[in-house]
């Protein structure tokens, strides 16, 4: 063992490698992305690592590897599990041979997600065992146990950290290389009675799963993963994940000593451990459940109280003692614990004379080609009845003022179909769908096929910046690079669209504004399904040109550049528009917007 300073996600990756990982697949999504990236960085050639085209593909690939005896991990964020839920539900019945951990990162807040869904509930729904780590060290240790349980019980298991564990750092104890397990997969052994799902097999498997989960509840109760800290009182706190650490800090700061039940395996719920906790010291009077997302432990304890006839009063989210939505914090948990334990907190005096603080909402980067694409469509459609359906990625930020070009956003790939639905009700509207290149491959292609087949009237706008920018620049099928370091043939978006039967597909550089506006006008005027590919690389990945320069003699101070583009590279200094040279990439868009040609440099400068 030795010490290293690791991010939670890196610890999960290293823990999986220490457990003999053979194959890892996934799709990027905050806060899960760094797990797979870390395994790729640590790959000595013995691992197979891939970014799959989406979470469903990743899970199915993982299943095949696990059928063949490989220790397999599949990574995604919580909404990714919705995409992978079809194979997940069936795989729960079929089971695996090699250990298989499905790492699903939840995002209380939510900080960078569409939903506050709780994967612990998905575990209950799919009947799969679930592990919930509370710290970086525990994540490292627990993922190794998760592999062992998976292999012992021949079932995939869910491992679900939350953002603060994924993105927290700590100096932790990790195994030396010679302490790590090695797993040599046996290979796929043909057995249709085992690997082919049929109603009769499903019926038998369902019964076996229910029996196994009763058994696992007992095993988990004795596993040490659901510890009860006895302090001798009649009041208890049940908690999990990062909230456990907030609770321990609060208990220490307040000098109180409740009984503490930390639930590390929310499903199957460790009933015997719960009974031990609830009946301590002659029976607890009251238990506060401190959870994020859904009240899973709270409902579990209420169920146990009913089943065993216990009189303990259970409070938490369902009783309004813990907020129903959003993240817990050190402060919110301290407040809840102090109230529960009857300790007065000194009133927080808020400073009242704080000057108004500038707000810093996330915006498209300076030089981002998406800004130019949105602006071109906005210009081309000025005065025309239009709807702009957005999607998931950096370009969701096209909703911000002054671009204001995102009318809808739902989930990965949804915009292509939503715009068709709006068109069915409003046939006189110019229907647009904006989709990024990675999202196009992940889940927009079926939407385009749907549009072509059903004779929709819409314009697909692919914002192709040749990377998955939002999550930190992962490669995808259009980039021609894989996580194994190979350079491969790129999958052409234009060829895919033509293959589907989209007759008009034009590719244009959005930073050439006039040509881009012309293209949008021309293409959108056609009937049927047509597509524009705005192709220009992500500004973060290219070396910028010399920053633009504003000619203060020519500038009439109309601020049109600032008010129409909202670029961070354009600021006001001494009441006039100015270039923030440290940010400007010299993309040249503002010089094409300026009515008096006062902005030069950039594109044309050396």
């Amino acid at each position: 063992m030795h010490k290293e300073f690791l991010m939670g996600n890196a610890a999960i990756a290293r823990g999986a490698i220490a457990a003999g990982l053979n194959v890892i697949s996934g799709y990027p999504g905050t806060p899960s992305t760094e797990v797979l990236e870390t395994t790729a960085k640590c790959n000595d050639g013995s691992l197979y690592v891939e970014w799959s085209v989406n979470e469903k593909a990743a899970l199915e690939l993982g299943a095949g590897a696990a059928y063949s005896g490989a220790r397999t991990m599949v990574t995604m964020k919580q909404v990714g599990l919705n995409v992978a839920s079809d194979p997940l539900m069936s795989l729960a019945y079929i089971g695996v041979k090699g250990g298989m951990v499905i790492m699903v990162a939840d995002d209380p807040g939510p900080i960078s997600s569409q939903t506050e869904q709780d994967t612990r509930k998905f575990a209950e729904f799919s009947k799969l065992p679930c592990f919930d780590p509370s710290s970086v060290q525990e994540a490292y240790d627990m993922i190794q146990k998760a592999f062992e349980y998976s292999e012992e019980y021949h079932t995939p298991v869910l491992f679900r950290p939350t953002t603060r564990v994924c993105h927290g750092y700590a100096s932790i104890e990790v195994k030396d290389e010679d302490e790590c397990k090695k797993n040599a997969p046996e290979g796929f052994v043909r057995d249709p009675s085992k690997w082919v799902i049929f109603p009769r097999l499903s019926f038998a498997a369902h019964g076996a799963i229910e029996k196994r989960n009763v058994c696992l509840s007992k095993v988990f109760s004795e596993s040490g993963l659901n510890p009860v800290t006895a302090n001798g009182g009649r009041r208890g706190i049940a908690t999990h994940g990062i909230s456990y650490t907030y609770t321990m800090e609060a208990v220490k700061a307040l000098g109180v000593s409740p009984e503490i039940f930390k639930v590390g395996t929310p499903f199957p719920f460790p009933e015997e451990a719960a009974v031990e906790f609830l009946t301590a010291n002659g029976g607890l009077e009251e238990v506060l459940c401190i959870e994020e997302l859904d009240p899973v432990i709270e409902r579990g304890l209420i169920f146990v109280c009913g089943k065993y006839g216990l009189k303990t009063k259970i409070i938490g989210k369902l009783t309004g003692h813990i907020p129903p939505a959003g993240e817990n914090t050190c402060a919110s948990v301290k407040r809840a614990v102090s109230q529960f334990m009857g300790v007065e907190l000194t009133a927080e005096e808020k400073a009242e004379d704080v000057p108004p603080l500038p707000v810093r909402p996330p915006v498209l980067c300076a030089g981002c080609p998406h800004r130019a694409s949105f602006f071109a469509v906005k210009q081309a459609m000025k005065g025309k009845k239009s709807v702009f359906c957005g999607d998931i990625g950096c370009y969701t930020l096209g909703n911000a003022m002054p671009l204001d070009m995102v009318d809808t956003c739902l989930c990965m790939g949804a915009g292509v179909n939503i715009t068709q639905g709006i068109g069915r009700i409003e046939p006189d509207t110019n229907c647009f769908a904006f989709v990024g290149d990675s999202t196009f491959f992940a889940s927009a292609i079926t939407g385009v096929i749907n549009a072509v087949y059903n004779q929709a009237d819409m314009t697909l706008v692919v914002l192709d910046n040749s990377t998955t920018a939002m999550t930190g620049h992962q490669p995808h099928p259009g980039t021609g690079r894989t996580m194994m370091g190979q350079v491969v043939d790129k999958v052409s978006i234009e060829a895919v669209l033509r293959g589907i039967g989209v007759k008009t597909v034009e590719t244009v550089d959005p930073l050439k504004l006039d040509a881009a506006v012309d293209c949008v006008k021309r293409v959108s005027a056609e009937k049927g399904v047509k597509a524009i590919i705005f192709k220009s690389p992500c500004a973060v990945l290219i070396k910028g040109k010399a920053p633009a320069v504003i000619d203060s003699v020519k500038c009439i101070n109309c601020k049109k550049c600032i008010n129409s583009l909202g670029c961070p590279g354009l600021v006001i200094k001494d009441g006039k528009a100015a270039i923030e040279a440290s940010l400007c990439t010299g993309c040249g868009l503002c010089s094409q917007v300026c009515p008096v040609n006062a902005i030069g440099g950039g594109e044309n400068a050396e």
Partner: protein, 190 residues
């Protein structure tokens, strides 16, 4: 011993590396470390922070308001935003050069940081202001700000290691061609 340190600023100022170097310097002295920082969409021009905790008996990488021993602020308004985390008698180091948000430009606001610095001077007894722009010019690189701030942070005496310890881990972390510039920035006399 426990130390709570908060580093704050705007995405792209090099806060993450600063946090990493403090953590590595502490680990080199066998001091346990935990940290938590902004990651993801908020990095795009947004407010960025890093919580750092050094010492024994830590459970959680974040800490509540009024418990930071040291606030290292790379931008004046961000210092004011995070000031509630400073404990009574805590120390603040702030870069005086403001970064104007896009929304301020759109609304025609003339934010220039001076109001923030006046507020800090009124509220904080142990305040050190750094003209980051001038310091970077002296070092000869616009990207030296984080090392300048780190060097000044070590001088407060709050951190449980000296500048030599930081220099040693920095040399192992940054690319060789940037070592000389970073040493100069770390050791800059202000």
């Amino acid at each position: 011993m426990q130390n709570n340190i908060l580093i704050c600023g705007v995405g792209g100022q090099g806060i993450v590396l600063t946090s990493k170097l403090i953590a590595a310097s502490a680990m080199a002295q066998d001091i346990p470390v935990m940290s938590a920082e902004t990651i993801g969409m908020a990095q795009k021009g947004g407010s960025v922070f890093s919580f750092l905790r050094l010492g024994d008996g830590l459970y959680c990488p974040m800490f509540p308001e009024k418990t930071a021993d040291l606030l290292i602020a790379f931008e004046p308004a961000e210092a004011v935003r995070m000031l509630p985390y400073l404990k009574e008698g805590g120390k603040v180091i702030v870069n005086t050069h403001p970064i104007m948000p896009v929304t301020a430009a759109l609304k025609g606001s003339s934010y220039n940081g001076s109001e923030m610095l006046e507020y800090l001077a009124k509220k904080v007894d142990d305040l050190k202001t750094i003209d980051g722009e001038a310091a970077c010019k002296e070092v000869g690189s616009p990207r030296a700000l984080n090392m300048v701030m780190l060097g000044q942070a070590v001088k407060t005496g709050v951190l449980p290691f000296d500048i030599d310890a930081v220099e040693e881990v920095m040399k192992k972390t940054v690319k060789p061609q940037f070592v000389e510039m970073n040493v100069k920035a770390l050791r800059l006399e202000i």
